[in-house]
Every structure is written in C-alpha cells, then in structure tokens.
Amino acid sequence: MGLDERREREKVYQPAEDSHLLATAARDEAAPTDRTLDVGTGSGYVATAMAETGATVYGVDPNPHACRQARESGIRVVQGDLTEPFGDGVFDLVTFNPPYLPTTPEEAVDDWMEVALAGGESGRAVIEPFLAGVGRVLTPEGRVLMLVSSLSGFDTVVELANEAGFTATTVDQDSFPFETLSILRLDHE
C-alpha cells in the first residue's frame, strides 16, 4: 500500500466485528431482485457483501474519502446525508451500521473518523434522524437491517423504531467484553 492510499484509509472506518455481523445478515437477507442502499457505507464492506447476492447495491456516505474507497470497490456511491438524497419508495432493503459511541462535547474532534464513530452524548445522534427518515425511501415491502450496540441503548432504539412506524425483530446478536451487538430488522407496521 502506498503512502497516499494509507493516509486515505486512515480517514475511513475500516471493517470490524460490527461490520462483519451486519455484512453476514445483509448477505442472508438480500435477494437478487432487490435494489438496496447501504447507509454510511464507509469502505463499502457491507455493500460488497450484499452485491454478492446479485442485488443492485447503492452506497451513501458524507465522507468523500469513504465515497472514493467504496467506488473503487465497485459500489454505486453517492456522497450525501443518510437517505436524504433519494426518492420515495425506491429501496427494497436498507442497511446501516451507525456511528454509535456515546461522546461528550469535550471528546469531540473534528475529523472524519469521529463522524464515523461518534453518536453524541446518547450515542443516538445519528440513529434518531436515520429512523425518522428511512421509511420514506422504502418500498411498501421494504425492510431495514441495522446494527445496534448496547452502548447506544438497545431498548431506546427499539422504541424510536416503533415510533417511526416499524416493528423490530432481533435477527442476530454477538457479545463482546464492553458491548453487545445486535442486528435489528425493521418492517413497516
């Protein structure tokens, strides 16, 4: 890897346990006829896993470095904020591994890795607008797979999903020393 490429990768969240859990669930869920969107696609890891099923996969990320890396992985990528740049009812499946680490304002540093990781004081600063907006871009039968960490309050995230008009089901779970990671499936009520 060249120095420029290394510097570029340092600005993009690279796949970890959470990415792997979501990628596995997404690969199991996606169908070849699906049009799917990976929100906060980062390196494009989850999007690439879904593309293996034959699904038509799009990725969106606010980080220009992530967009370049995902594009190099062959993902159709848009630089944008969550589901805002898309039309109504266009996706059969949306996946999201959100920034979820609870972060105090004092801890905040203004760089792209922070944007990929930090979820504000509650850990839900990005999860909340995602849940409020994702229903609009889903088809009537569309579903969401999102990663939820115990650090950002699992029960509260389920409540927010219910308030946004979804039923929530846990489809996979894995425990680590400091957190439990769950894959939540959301369907329109």
Partner: protein
C-alpha cells in the same frame, strides 16, 4: 456515476427531480458534471464520478 442513478436520486432539500448536466463522461459513466434541482435550482457537483448530494450547509462544514 451511471446514468441509471437518475431514477433514484432527488434534491436533498425539497425531494424534487434533478437534471443532469454532463461535462465529461466515459462509455457507461458520468465523471464530471452537475445535478441541478428542477425546482429550487440548487447545483450539486459530480467529481471523479461521485455525485455530491450533501445539502449546501453540510458541504461547507465538512472536516478536512
């Protein structure tokens, strides 16, 4: 970006349709150009094949 993207993208501000203006393209992709909202007229750049559909305030606030 592939032109088929036009079927699913909308202006992030008012969700209206976008018009594609091509500056440079290959056989199957637009490399440079812009997307212009048919309603509010906001312009979104396409650079190195990636359309930037961040709302204008987020485009300016971005970390380095």
């Amino acid at each position: 970006m592939k032109e088929s993207l036009m079927e699913i993208v909308r202006c992030p501000m008012d969700k209206q349709e976008l018009e594609l203006e091509v500056i440079q393209r290959t056989d199957d992709e637009v490399l440079e150009g812009r997307l212009v909202c048919s309603e509010c007229g906001e312009e979104y750049p396409i650079e190195e094949g990636i359309p930037n559909l961040l709302p204008p305030d987020m485009r300016e606030d971005a970390p380095a």
